[in-house]
Symmetry: C2
Subunit: 277 residues, 2 copies
């Protein structure tokens, strides 16, 4: 018998991966949580049937959501991650010497526990009692309402805008993000596929641009996500991320990100440029 795990990327498209072993399944207060070991991608986190991250290619998403905003800010010290329960984003954040405190607010403790147990390479910064890391299991929307003038960089590492992630794709949330950032702060959010979520991207780009003087979209190639191409959107109060790294900070060893790619990932194909007009 062969076992396959299929993500319905839309109602007419699926990506299916052959499974060696199902390591964990559970139903949390918020969603179905599963960790499967696949032949193609190794161990993979699946939430409500949607492929989230896998050991083989997680470096792409986590490097790109962390290093593009962090190298844009000349001296990021206070960083907040909303979501990111697998720990991969905060693992990359704490590699920056400038970072003093990396807070993380994840709504679903079951995701954190499952990743700490089954994805140890990804969740290492949550396991090792890293002195910079402050993990809180709680509601990111509520946390953001209460924060003011506190963060240099906020990273919204959320799942799709259906289910627990829904409230993170709203104008009201972006207002709270703006308020929580320092006067030269910036934030980034994963913003889905430029092929399959064009209306969402247009709406949230408009919402972010109504608040932030600088709004930019960049791209990364992520094979387990629909279409293989994924958007990230930055709202920034002062620094333009598309002009590349600021200052002369040491280059971290990375497998996807580098200083030239920091600039080129903002060079968008014409059909995406049109989308953002």
């Amino acid at each position: 018998m062969q076992l396959w795990c299929t993500e319905n990327q839309s109602d007419s498209l699926g990506l299916t991966a052959r499974v060696k072993e199902t390591l964990f399944t559970g139903r949390s207060e918020f969603q179905d949580v599963a960790i499967v070991d696949t032949y193609q991608f190794g161990r993979m986190l699946v939430l409500d049937g949607v492929f989230q991250t896998s050991v083989v290619e997680e470096f792409i998403y986590h490097e790109m959501i962390a290093h593009v905003p962090l190298y844009t800010h000349p001296n990021p010290q206070q960083v907040l991650v909303i979501g990111g329960g697998d720990g991969g984003t905060i693992r990359e954040v704490v590699r920056h010497d400038s970072v003093k405190v990396a807070e993380m607010v994840e709504i679903d403790g079951m995701v954190v526990d499952a990743c700490k147990k089954y994805l140890p390479e990804t969740s290492i910064a949550l396991n090792e009692n890293n002195p910079k890391v402050r993990l809180k299991i709680g509601d990111g929307i509520k946390h953001m309402k209460e924060a003011e003038n506190k963060y240099d960089v906020i990273i919204v590492d959320c799942s799709d805008p259906i289910g627990p992630g829904e409230g993170l794709f709203t104008h009201a949330f972006y207002q709270d993000v703006f308020k929580a950032l320092k006067p030269d702060g910036l934030f980034v959010q994963q913003t889905e596929s430029p092929f399959y979520h064009q209306e969402l991207i247009q709406r949230l780009t408009k919402d972010i641009a109504s608040l932030f003087p600088i709004t930019k979209l960049y791209l990364a190639s992520i094979p387990i996500y629909p279409g293989g191409l994924h958007c990230f959107t930055i709202g920034s109060k002062q620094y333009d991320p598309s002009t590349g790294e600021t200052g002369k900070r040491p280059q971290l060893k990375t497998r996807y990100y580098h200083a030239d790619l920091h600039k080129s990932c903002f060079v968008l194909p014409n059909f995406i440029r049109e989308l953002l007009k």
Copy 2:
């Protein structure tokens, strides 16, 4: 009943698209040929079960395989396409005013006939008796052996290196390509996925670099191909494609390609840079 067409992208990964209607199936001398109408991608050409091109996203592949080499050459007049039976590549080639003759050698007449009938937007340059187009149904390898000092640009628009495309991924073929090009000529070939075909990419990069003074790989995001990210490799006798367009030729109206992207598509993630070392 729902019909789904599934490509086995590897023995442990599949992409599956829901089908409205099967428009054509046939068995040629070389391969299984099918055209299906899908909900996600519209009409799609499938050869030996592998998704080749679809009306929704064909512009990406065809613009990127044609315009990057053509805008690299300052005055491409004689162009050859090997393969490309759907006609999309030659459609983009003949848009360049400088091009006087665009030859195309496709091995499988059934592919051409099916695309002329069912993919009219893609195959338009084959249908409209374009005076620049010279279509030959025949063996591209044999054609290349016989050509000498003839072409400014050669585009190898082939299927996977299994089946009829196999002989197009060999050192012997690249020697013939070198001979068929003029002293300042260049060629491009689609060279598969940087996630799933790393050994192939390493081997052919080495083969091409052993013949051509300039060898460069560039990327495009193609949602129907494995991993959603696809490689193209250029072997060039004189012009460096990664420095961008030459001269000041008029910019064609395109949906993916543009002059800035011509440069940024050569900026490779670190894991691909490592692969090519």
